[in-house]
């Protein structure tokens, strides 16, 4: 675990073609400063996994607009202010895999938990079931779902200690704790870094074992 001096150091080393998990639900927990650093870094041909596909012209939308993303894996790309994604999609310049929101979370959890695949009831009989293995278990029908693993995760948390333990704020927690388990390199932006021992062990949400780099940002 390293406390980085700035966001550029925090995203250093990401390679072209990487799969990047980006936390947040709308703007809550969205690590915009880390995404900005990723844009400056220049890595391209990325697969981005995030609940939405960018809002307005900043953050994830700016990464998309810069042409760095080959594939977007998300549950809900279509929003009132997702014009950047909409344009790229209609121009055939970005691939889209739509995943039900709970499956997005559970597939990343599986990656982090060493589960090879799991039978899930969500989406049975819908267009999103196409091509998936179907099985009836105990009278209910399930689809086989596979893990989603990241090379890099960028998450927004509230407070970190120097051991990398994280706590979040309210519903900004959302995808952060799951993504932190599912990527090879995990980078957390936080509002505050405290000394090791200053976070009560009972309330740690993401244990430091999952976190590689922490950077303090002012928001």
């Amino acid at each position: 675990m390293r406390v980085c001096a700035d966001t550029d150091e925090a995203v250093a080393g990401v390679e072209d073609g990487a799969t990047v998990l980006v936390g947040g639900f709308g703007m809550a927990g969205m690590p915009v400063p880390l995404i900005d650093a990723l844009i400056r870094h220049g890595a391209t041909d990325l697969t981005v996994v995030s609940n939405n596909a960018g809002n307005g012209d900043t953050g994830l939308a700016a990464l998309l607009a810069a042409g760095r993303v080959r594939t977007m894996i998300c549950s809900f790309p279509r929003q009132s202010d997702s014009w950047v994604f909409d344009r790229l999609y209609r121009e055939g310049r970005i691939e889209l895999e739509v995943v039900p929101q709970g499956n997005l979370a559970e597939r990343m959890r599986a990656a982090g938990a060493g589960i090879g695949a799991f039978f899930c009831p969500t989406g049975v009989g819908t267009p999103l079931a196409e091509g998936k293995e179907v099985r009836e278990i105990d009278g209910r029908t399930y689809l086989l779902e596979y893990p989603i693993k990241g090379d890099l995760a960028l998450i927004g948390a509230h407070r970190a200690d120097r051991a990398g333990n994280l706590v979040y704020r309210r519903t900004a927690r959302n995808f952060g704790p799951v993504m932190a388990t599912a990527a090879t390199t995990v980078v957390a932006q936080v509002s505050e870094v405290v000394e090791t021992g200053e976070i009560d062990p009972e309330v740690v949400v993401t244990p430091g074992i999952y976190v590689d780099r922490v950077v303090r940002v002012t928001t």
Partner: protein
């Protein structure tokens, strides 16, 4: 079955109030984005109903308006990304835990909007099937199959006059056989393996409904 012929169709407000009335005391409930959200305004004081929002919270309170008791906090939103408040007894959790709660059948009621519902309870509410539409599912499929009971709120007829309670959905499905009740402006229906049954009508008669709908109707 109750035929209310001495009045017109239910207003949106009346519809929300009637759904609220059918939610059991102390139930754990998820209200979908849009019209279902308004059900919260009609839950009686002391209903003990606990609201779940899939972005990671139980015990969600009313919308935040920026007053001294309901400050707007960008880290505290509902699934529609609108700032909300938290009630005493609330709890926060991450996305995998939130959807595990839903998928595991722990919520008592989920209220959703719909494009179409079939007599056997199939739901179509995520995609109009237009070829150039950008697909976006969000949590719709997870919500559809998770709760113990799924209530749908919709108008019974589309703007073009076509019925939205149908023998089989023509729009892409969200879930199969998942809806239990359909609350519409002119009638409330029970749907499921036995087909559709009219529970109550408003400003229309059972015979009118039989004539206008393409599905057999119990009473």
């Amino acid at each position: 079955m109750n035929e209310h012929l001495d009045r017109g169709p239910r207003s949106k407000d009346e519809l929300a109030a009637d759904v609220a009335r059918d939610i059991p005391h102390g139930a754990f409930v998820n209200l979908g984005i849009g019209q279902p959200t308004t059900v919260a305004d009609h839950l009686p004081v002391g209903s003990g109903v606990v609201l779940h929002t899939e972005n990671g919270m139980l015990g969600m309170g009313p919308l935040a308006h920026g007053g001294p008791h309901d400050p707007i906090d960008p880290d505290l939103t509902n699934a529609g990304k609108v700032p909300v408040t938290a009630l005493p007894g609330a709890s926060y959790f991450h996305h995998a835990d939130s959807f595990a709660m839903m998928r595991g059948g722990h919520l008592d009621v989920c209220v959703l909007g719909a494009f179409q519902v079939s007599a056997t309870g199939d739901l179509a509410n995520w995609h109009t099937g237009e070829p150039d539409a950008i697909p976006a599912v969000g949590g719709a499929m997870d919500l559809a199959i998770g709760a113990k009971q799924v209530f749908v709120m919709m108008t019974l007829f589309a703007k073009d006059g076509s019925a939205k309670l149908v023998p089989g959905c023509t729009y892409p499905l969200t879930g199969v056989g998942c809806v239990d009740r359909v609350y519409t402006d002119v009638a409330t229906f029970e749907v499921g393996p036995q087909g559709a049954r009219v529970l109550e009508t408003f400003g229309t008669s059972y015979d009118d409904l039989l004539a206008r709908l393409d599905v057999p109707l119990g009473r």
